[in-house]
Subunit: 435 residues, 2 copies
Amino acid sequence: MTTTLTIPDLIRKKRDGAEHTRAELEQLVLGYTRGDVPDYQVSAWLMAVYLRGMTPQETADLTLVMAASGDQMDLAGLPRTVDKHSTGGVGDKTSLILTPMLAALGLTVAKMSGRGLAHTGGTIDKLESFPGWSPDLPEERFLAQARDLGLALIGQTKDLAPADGKLYALRDVTATVDCLPLIASSIMSKKLASGAHTVVLDVKVGAGAFMRTLEDGQALARAMVDIGTRAGRQVRAVLTDMDTPLGHMAGNSLEVQEAIRTLRGEGPEDLTELCVALAVEALVAHGEDEAAAEARARAALQDGSALAKFRAFVAAQGGDASLVDHPERLDVAPDRADVVAPASGFVGRLDALAVGRAVLALGGGRERKGEAIDHGVGVEVLKKPGEAVAAGEPVLRLFHRGGRGLDAARALLEGGLSVTGTAPQPQPLLLGRVN
Amino acid sequence: MTTTLTIPDLIRKKRDGAEHTRAELEQLVLGYTRGDVPDYQVSAWLMAVYLRGMTPQETADLTLVMAASGDQMDLAGLPRTVDKHSTGGVGDKTSLILTPMLAALGLTVAKMSGRGLAHTGGTIDKLESFPGWSPDLPEERFLAQARDLGLALIGQTKDLAPADGKLYALRDVTATVDCLPLIASSIMSKKLASGAHTVVLDVKVGAGAFMRTLEDGQALARAMVDIGTRAGRQVRAVLTDMDTPLGHMAGNSLEVQEAIRTLRGEGPEDLTELCVALAVEALVAHGEDEAAAEARARAALQDGSALAKFRAFVAAQGGDASLVDHPERLDVAPDRADVVAPASGFVGRLDALAVGRAVLALGGGRERKGEAIDHGVGVEVLKKPGEAVAAGEPVLRLFHRGGRGLDAARALLEGGLSVTGTAPQPQPLLLGRVN
């Protein structure tokens, strides 16, 4: 049966709370992507979706329609493929560590990554701290590298789920961004189009994250896992705290240095534990026993196998791999300034969003797509929440270049830091799992 | 205080169910009318209004903003001004009778009218059955005629509440038409911009009307009266049945003939009673006692004073006034065909919408703005609901020209007619009043 509903009929249907068929979603979303359906009809429909919601089946159908709106990566020729996605945080260098770990553990990571925007960093920006490293690989070379090395990473192309890009731009100007089925389908459409059998999701929760509460984070994780399951993929999510930055470093070269320390088995505990937890999810999704998976994951950081994969990966994409063994030679901004404790006590709040914005102010991120960034600037967290400090003792260190953006960055950090009289309740990093 | 909210902020506010200030509505609606706010933002906002609603104050503010979006007619120099609006029906020639009645009763009618669209007729189309009659008067002549004669009628200009026209066109393609505050503000914005002190509303309810149930009609009437009151006008509404056509005639010249019969005091009861009821509302709004007002209204139809006003009005706007005294000379289509009762019994349902569509099929209405129409075609209701009929006896008579559209019209009428074994419960025409 061919559909005879008009676009206003489809808007009316969602307006009245009914469930769309996949064919209806194709008519709307692919019509919009082609330019046949005008934006003023789609924005009315998006507001109806915002206020009426979508069923799990509808959300999965929408995601599949968006995933099929452009090119789809065919990874069927690769064994045990895995992809990872984080909903975005500050100081989140997890992908730098996790992807070589997974390759060392026998999985295949053929991954598309993005660049950073606003206060969140991007994996490609961090890797570009290695002079010569490039995410611009022809597809054949990308697939060959993934097959030979177990790890290859390219930039996201415009033709990956173009419906998502177009819908997101419209949502951004019509107050329809923070809508669970639309967020979940946006993320998952790109993951489905990227082709991996298994997807491990890190859903960030807290002041520095898009999802402010654990409840919201759980709902998003559940929606994404559900989409993946309905699409025939293995999707597993962990919920992690993003009230405070992950590890100690924020800023591109600084994060690469910390990632290398972690790959050597010398990383900060929170970052190490998160990488192990995500690796375990990936291995379990591929049928491994959980306890054995955890032991193997920890070993990969201790025995040098993950580090070796990282070295080979940097070299394979044109980067100066000698810096992996001499990370102190990475370009780090030469000037320093500290933010000190205003009183004696314990570090209470250390707001991840403030740290992310400070890096942006120093020139380490971009407000708009396409802007150049300074890889060397950043912020080091000298004392994490819960640690004792004396009045006047440095808590945060800024790495700047000639004072550029320093005053703004310092003001942001001072506003994001509190010192309390009593030690705050320690907050776990891992808040939950959804699969 | 100047507002600093962006358009997405305003959309978000309505999305979350909050109440807009008048300044916010100006920012949105006047920005859209000027072309500064894009349609895709306004359509998202309209859907939020549809699903979240508007408070009475918000609805009144929206109406005032739309009324002030273009030219506003200044009737302050005219005494006892009154305007009338019907929400649209089939065979509704009330304005042709009521407006000269009101002028004869000492009120001033300086009215803008529209043309018909789809199955509802327009007063201007009906008056154009008089050769030479024109609604195109310069404003000065329009006002002078209203002052001298008590009655003048012009076509609606584009500059009257242009925000309403633009919003309506967008609502039409985004499934946001049938939303009470938007319907009420659309109607009332044009009435407020038209300038009359008093507005009498005829809210049609039933199969041939936009409002299908009495409850919906009452809600619309209340919303419109509330807007008028908040805007400092006198607004009174009657709710009337539109399951079946008003009077016996549908079609332009046929309706003019029936209107003239009514102005002579020889009209059908339902039509006469509706005109009297609306005249009473207008007189009461101007401070008259209800019983005295009713007596005066009835007298205007009996003593020839309303008919004299009509004759003078037709002549003043260039029409051949001799036709008022010889309505049989109006151009009525020469060919006839009847729809007969399929069985003996009582006329049960006689669907107003079917009659309206039949007139349209015969060429007496237009599907799109600007189309020419045939004033002579139409439908006569020979037997009204409740009347006894014998099998094969004519119930409806079609006035057609050479069979054009006849088969379609006949099929529509046959589908809209039912004959029942028992007499149906008589249905009152006047269903309620709101003021």
